[in-house]
């Protein structure tokens, strides 16, 4: 490696064989002239990357910084030398040309911190730069500043408890990034309601307390996913009952409930006295997840859905607002289907029905081409074509366990990150579908594991990840172990 191998240099040493290689890329900026290069077989990623930088004249002499490249051969990232790849895959066939695709390298994620929560983390959102929105089965939503995450004891900016102690399953920011005051955020829970909270601002010195503004009723089963529109006024929630409920939040705070409150107890002959007494009992008791199913707080204004999108059989796993068309929503369900909905009309526009056992747990969309990616219970990540229906599932990425959460890179059309039940965060390049670019799991310290086996609520800690988010810079993932890992991960 000491001597810089020159591009197109013919083999100086007799031992080094040369392989015919066709280098190409899908990126317009990094393209080099199409030709077949004879390259020493011993070259690795680094030398090839140097070669392309030379060709692109990305050299310090030219004032440009060299860009690291990754090389994909037959959908597989080149890890060793070309020689070893040929030996492994071609059986020493040195004659035939090798098509090598190069992409700008994605740096491996680097863990920068972790946040400990008292119960399972169920939802994460990086919707606002610098802050993590987190929902947990402790039945609260927290807003954490990312800057404090690196410290050992990050204190939440806001902790918003849900009215019941059954647990929150998902959370999202509703207000757009531009809105800095009276920010709306929503959390869905096992209690079948979406709770919309308002926080005055994200500045730490705000005085007015956050509160629950709305309770969105209408679902008959726990909420699985919520998304807010770009306008910050519309909200769609998906539930286990197979429906998508469309809510429009009023600009002005209403003064009356749209429906009556759900009965707290169904037992005959029970009056308010009883309930009040119960509530009083509960107040005395510490929050214990399952000791009661009753309301612990007052709750917001109760609202009913403005539209119900019906179609899924069984649970709806995930929802994503179409990143190109704001009037469209995609949902993926446990019935193995991916559906596109026109929000305004409530019409089911597109129906892609996959195998019935391909239960989708989550869905996200690539901004660039609108391809949907779903994480499935059958241990795959599937890419669904949304535009032309020539193929149902265009690509399947095999994983080792179900994928409860998936996030596509906000800009790149090839990179996506997934969290899995095996506790691994993986970053994939869909051009290399055989295995992930990176697989990282939280570095478990033995001592911490010894001390924390069971959460305060008596829930056994496992390695499962349940939620993750990625904004292209920061990747957060959390789950059963009650910890949110934070990584710096750039993926182009």
């Amino acid at each position: 490696m000491s001597d810089q191998p020159m591009p197109l240099a013919s083999s100086s040493s007799a031992a080094s064989r040369q392989l015919p290689i066709n280098l190409f890329t899908r990126s317009a900026t990094d393209a080099i002239p199409q030709s077949t290069y004879f390259i020493p077989a011993s070259w690795r990623r680094f030398q090839l990357s140097e070669l392309i930088n030379k060709v692109l004249s990305n050299t310090p002499e030219n004032g440009k910084k060299p860009v690291p490249f990754d090389f994909l051969v037959n959908g597989e990232v080149l890890r060793g030398s070309l020689d070893s790849w040929v030996k492994k895959n071609r059986g020493n066939d040195e004659e035939s040309q090798i098509d090598v695709e190069y992409v700008r390298s994605v740096m491996p994620p680097e863990e920068v911190g972790r946040v400990e929560v008292e119960d399972w983390v169920s939802g994460l959102s990086l919707g606002r730069k610098g802050y993590v929105l987190l929902s947990s089965y402790l039945s609260h939503v927290q807003v954490l500043p990312l800057s404090s995450a690196s410290t050992s004891s990050p204190d939440a900016l806001y902790t918003l408890p849900l009215p019941t102690s059954l647990g929150a399953t998902s959370c999202t920011w509703i207000s757009p990034q531009s809105q800095t005051e009276d920010i709306l955020l929503a959390a869905g829970g096992i209690d079948r309601q979406v709770h919309v909270f308002t926080i005055p601002s994200l500045s730490p010195d705000s005085i007015s307390p956050p509160r629950e503004l709305y309770s969105l009723h209408g679902h008959t089963a726990p909420i699985s996913s919520i998304i807010g529109s770009s306008t910050g006024r519309e909200l769609i929630s998906a539930s286990w009952d197979g429906n998508l409920n469309f809510y429009v939040l009023p600009n002005e705070e209403p003064t009356e409930h749209q429906i009556a409150a759900e009965p707290m107890s169904y037992l005959p002959g029970q009056g308010n006295k009883k309930r009040r007494k119960l509530e009083k009992d509960n107040e005395k008791l510490p929050i214990e997840g399952l000791t009661d199913g009753d309301s612990t707080g007052v709750g917001g204004w109760r609202r009913v859905p403005d539209g119900v999108l019906r179609g899924h059989q069984g649970r709806v796993g995930g929802l994503v607002w179409d990143k190109l068309d704001s009037g469209k929503v995609w949902s993926a369900g446990w019935d193995g289907s991916v559906r596109g909905w026109e929000v305004e009309t409530g019409a089911a526009g597109v129906l892609r029905q996959g195998p019935a056992d391909k239960a989708a747990l989550c869905v996200d969309q690539f901004q660039a081409n609108g391809t949907l990616a779903t994480g499935n219970m059958d241990r795959t990540i599937c890419l669904w074509d949304t535009r032309q229906a020539t193929s149902l599932i265009s690509l399947t990425l095999p994983t080792s366990s179900p994928i409860p959460s998936i996030t596509c890179h906000p800009t790149s059309s090839y990179t996506l990150a997934s969290a899995s039940y095996s506790g691994v965060v993986q970053i994939w390049d869909i051009r290399s579908p055989k295995n992930a670019l990176f697989s990282v799991s939280k570095a478990q310290s033995k001592a911490a594991e010894e001390t924390r086996k069971v959460t305060k609520n008596g829930k056994v800690l496992g390695e499962r990840l349940l939620a993750m988010d990625w904004d292209g810079e920061v990747l957060v993932a959390g789950g059963e172990d009650g910890e949110v890992g934070i990584w710096r991960a750039r993926g182009e």
Binding site: W120, S122, Y137, T164, L166, G167, I190, D191, R192, T220, A221, P222, W240, D241, E262, P263, S265, Y266, L267, P268, K274, L278, L290, D292, G293, D294, Q313, G314, R315, W334, P355, A356, D357, A359, L361, M377, D378, R379, S401, P402, P404, Y421, V454, G458, K459, V460, G462, R464, L466, E480
Partner: protein, 848 residues
């Protein structure tokens, strides 16, 4: 020669007794004229003397006209003791012949006959000159020739002897007058008895026994037997008489003689050649008569009367037999089909089935040309029962005449070998080293070894081991590959983690497939999110291990039943379900409380004895808040619950509650019935029929199907297992699977039989749970060996087609703790997913 004389002399009386036996003598006797005979005899003697002069010893051509003479002449040739046999016989037998000739119109046919025979002799290779030469040589060698002794007797002497012999004939008296003892006649002489002291016994003269005349050997002095006479063609004699003397070939004339004889002799055409004696024999009238009869296709025996009157021995009037001839009972073989014949036939049938015998097989055409030395087409293929002898092992190095040094025994080894007994020796021989093969001495044990080998082969029974030449692959039924039968559970996707090491005895999935309920031994019923394994609700029943948990299949309500010792708890996750579902559930369960003032309700089925002990108890308010709706107090420890599909009835089984082991509870009325007044055995499991008002109750070995409406037993299925542990009924209702503690799984097709359609044994330990998928063609079984086996099962609507069962997958992951493995399994409705609970405290979801 004495016996022969006696035979000849006795021929007459015996012939008279049995005329048919002596063909020559019989018919002739009727016309015999004694005087004539004697005269002829004298003539012949003189003729013979002439002949003898001419021919020497062998010239007895005339005499050969009769069979007896041949032997007599030969005997006379060499025996001097008895000089006259020929006359003897000649007179007796020639006489008749002469009579024949008389009948046949000629008196001097003797010579012609003689010539005749000489001709035939020459035909068969000898002429008189040859014989002359031969006899001359014999004469020279034997100076005392028989012919010379013969010549010493004169005709008178011969005659007198003949007369003397005939005069003492005893024959006529014997057997006819029954005068057997001659004691009274005073014959014989008295001699002292050796046995009785002072006693006397009478001794008689020996007399010649008259046997032989009717013997068939009498006719034919030649003793060579029934052989092709041409064997003697090259020899001067044609056989041997009884004394072993050669019978020489009679002189035979040439063709011309024969022809002349034929022409001259009018009886020639009624003569035939006697092969044994090689001479022409004149056929008797009787023989001619037989020939004539044969020609006319009549019965040859002239005496046979085909139209004899019937003698009715056992039939007809007065002859009827009342009793059977024998008192022996009728033998079995008369009416029992023969076992041995059956065996023989079955042997053939077996051979035909095995292909050893092919009936109506066209015989294989032999190739016209084949390679003689080729081993390939063995001329003699070993037959079906051919059993080659086992091969001896090939010789080893130690048996070499020049073995390597290490094989050659040292002196000590040799001594030791010599010292040990023959049976104890490790080797039969001492290896020895020779420089060349030619120096190797003979092996002295060779004969012994060969003998022992032969003995082994002879004594050892050999059996032919029939090698089953079946391709094992072909025995496996053709099943679709598991890959084609996807989806089915493959891997563990979600774990529902229970705190501590508590055993999870029961697990159940809600009918909408969203929740998993588990009952563990710490007495807590937990409710889990199916998708991510989050425990979202729990009921602590505080009454010992949870034995069983089962969701109500009714989707409009959300109910589950948990069993603990002495109690059935009806639970509902009220906070987790939609308000309308919760309300419906509560209404359903609580209506009966409203109708009754008391918080406890005694079973409605009061008419059934013993159900009074069963109480429906309203739980404490706080418990009811948490969704514990009703407790049913039952005797014993209920072990299993089975819901009716409409969600109103459920049946519980408490094996230890004697006759109240099976109880059917009705939620809407809070009533409990005991369907069986008498327990049909230790009931292990119960199940409701998925569509009919039928009820399955599985005891240790039998599954009984009852009609609940008609209150009667419909069917008893015999499982063939020792102890049923689990039972599940297919949604179609016609098939059920039964798991047993003796590691077997039995599949019943109830339309087919009361016996299992298939009994599968693949688990290494006792089965704990079996489950059909409610909609997909799948079933699974779990066992104490820690595995879950997934099967595909297609049940065809065509009744003629048997269900298709394909093993798909073995799910491993549960650890075996305390000998217990996977305790309970349930399918997730609508998905090919399986939830299992294990003794290791794990509940797992297995996904496709």
């Amino acid at each position: 020669m004495a016996p022969r004389n006696a035979a000849a002399s006795s021929s007459k009386p015996s012939a008279s007794a049995r005329p048919a036996t002596n063909g020559h003598a019989g018919p002739s006797r009727a016309t015999t004229a004694p005087s004539k005979t004697k005269k002829r005899a004298v003539e012949e003697v003189s003729v013979e003397e002439d002949d003898e002069d001419e021919f020497g010893a062998g010239g007895s051509g005339i005499d050969m006209s009769d069979d007896e003479e041949m032997g007599s002449v030969d005997g006379a040739d060499e025996d001097d003791e008895d000089a006259f046999p020929e006359f003897d016989s000649e007179i007796e037998d020639q006489g008749p012949e002469g009579d024949d000739e008389d009948e046949g119109d000629s008196t001097d046919e003797e010579y012609e006959e003689d010539n005749d025979e000489e001709d035939s002799g020459s035909e068969s290779g000898y002429n008189s000159s040859d014989i002359d030469a031969m006899y001359e040589s014999s004469n020279t060698s034997a100076p005392t020739s028989p012919s010379s002794s013969h010549k010493n007797l004169t005709t008178d002497e011969k005659l007198s002897k003949l007369i003397a012999k005939n005069s003492i004939k005893p024959n006529e008296a014997i057997g006819t007058d029954a005068k057997i003892s001659k004691a009274k006649e005073g014959e014989g002489r008295m001699v002292k008895s050796k046995l009785v002291d002072g006693g006397y016994k009478r001794e008689y003269e020996d007399y010649e026994a008259g046997y032989g005349s009717e013997s068939s050997t009498e006719d034919n002095p030649n003793t060579v037997g029934n052989i092709p006479m041409e064997w003697y063609d090259d020899l001067p004699h044609i056989g041997y008489d009884v004394n072993g003397r050669k019978i020489f070939r009679p002189a035979q004339g040439d063709e011309l003689d024969k022809f002349l004889a034929n022409v001259e002799d009018p009886g020639a055409w009624t003569s035939a050649e006697d092969k044994m004696l090689q001479q022409q024999v004149q056929l008797t009238d009787k023989e001619l008569d037989i020939i004539r009869r044969l020609e006319r296709a009549e019965i040859p025996d002239a005496d046979y009367d085909p139209y004899q009157p019937t003698v009715e021995w056992f039939t007809g009037e007065g002859n009827e037999r009342v009793m059977p001839l024998s008192a022996a009972p009728e033998p079995k073989s008369r009416f029992v089909p023969s076992k041995w014949e059956h065996k023989k036939i079955m042997k053939i049938v077996k051979a035909i089935r095995e292909g050893r015998i092919t009936p109506n097989k066209p015989s294989a055409a032999k190739p016209k040309v084949y390679a003689i030395w080729s081993d390939a087409d063995q001329a003699n293929a070993p037959h079906a029962m051919y059993m080659p002898a086992p091969q001896l092992p090939p010789p080893k190095t130690i048996e070499s005449y020049n073995p390597p040094e290490e094989y050659v025994p040292t002196e000590e080894e040799k001594a030791e070998w010599e010292a040990t007994d023959k049976e104890d020796r490790k080797t039969e021989f001492l290896p020895a080293k020779y420089d060349a093969l030619r120096l190797v001495p003979g092996y002295k044990n060779l004969v012994q070894e060969k003998f022992e080998r032969c003995l082994d082969l002879y004594l050892a029974p050999r059996t032919r081991r029939v090698k089953l030449n079946i391709d094992p692959e072909s025995l496996i039924p053709k099943l679709p590959a598991p890959k084609e039968l996807k989806p089915f559970p493959i891997a563990c996707s979600v774990q529902y983690r229970h705190p501590g090491d508590t055993r999870v005895r029961a697990v159940s999935t809600s009918p909408d497939g969203q929740w998993v309920a588990s009952g563990s031994e710490d007495g807590v019923v937990r409710l889990w999110d199916l998708g991510n394994g989050r425990e979202v609700w729990r009921w602590d029943l505080h009454s010992g291990p949870i034995q069983f948990v089962e969701w109500s299949p009714y989707k409009e309500e959300s109910l589950l039943v948990a069993l603990v010792e002495g109690k059935v708890a009806v639970l509902s996750p009220l906070a987790l379900v939609a308000p309308n579902v919760a309300a419906a559930t509560l209404t359903h369960v609580n209506t009966a409380f409203a109708s009754s003032a008391a918080t406890t309700k005694i079973g409605a089925g009061k008419d059934v004895k013993g159900v009074e002990a069963i109480k429906w108890v309203r739980p404490a308010e706080r418990e009811r808040e948490r969704g514990v709706l009703v407790y049913v107090e039952v005797p014993g420890t209920p072990k299993q619950v089975s819901w009716h599909r409409k969600g109103d009835y459920f049946a519980t089984v408490a094996t230890d509650a004697s006759n109240k082991s099976v109880l059917i509870h009705q939620l809407s009325r809070h009533a409990t019935q005991s369907p069986f007044r008498k327990t049909p055995g230790q009931v292990q499991r119960v199940a409701f029929h998925p569509s009919k008002p039928h009820f399955f109750a599985a005891t240790q070995r039998y599954i009984r199907l009852y009609d609940l409406a008609g209150q009667k037993l419909l069917k008893t299925l015999q499982s063939g297992v020792k102890w049923i542990s689990s039972l599940d009924v297919h949604a179609g209702g016609d098939n059920l699977i039964v798991g047993s503690y003796d590691k077997k799984l039995a599949w019943f097709d109830m339309d087919l039989s009361t016996k299992p359609y298939k009994t599968l044994r693949y688990h290494n330990r006792a089965l704990r749970s079996v489950a059909y998928h409610p909609t997909l063609p799948l079933f699974a079984s779990s066992s104490d060996d820690g595995t879950i086996h997934i099967f595909h099962c297609t049940i065809y609507s065509d009744l003629m087609q048997n269900p298709l069962i394909v093993p798909l997958k073995i799910l491993r992951g549960h650890k075996v703790t305390d000998g217990l493995g996977v305790l309970d399994i349930r399918w997730v409705p609508g998905k090919p997913w399986l939830v299992s609970s294990g003794a290791d405290g794990e509940v797992r979801l297995w996904c496709s």
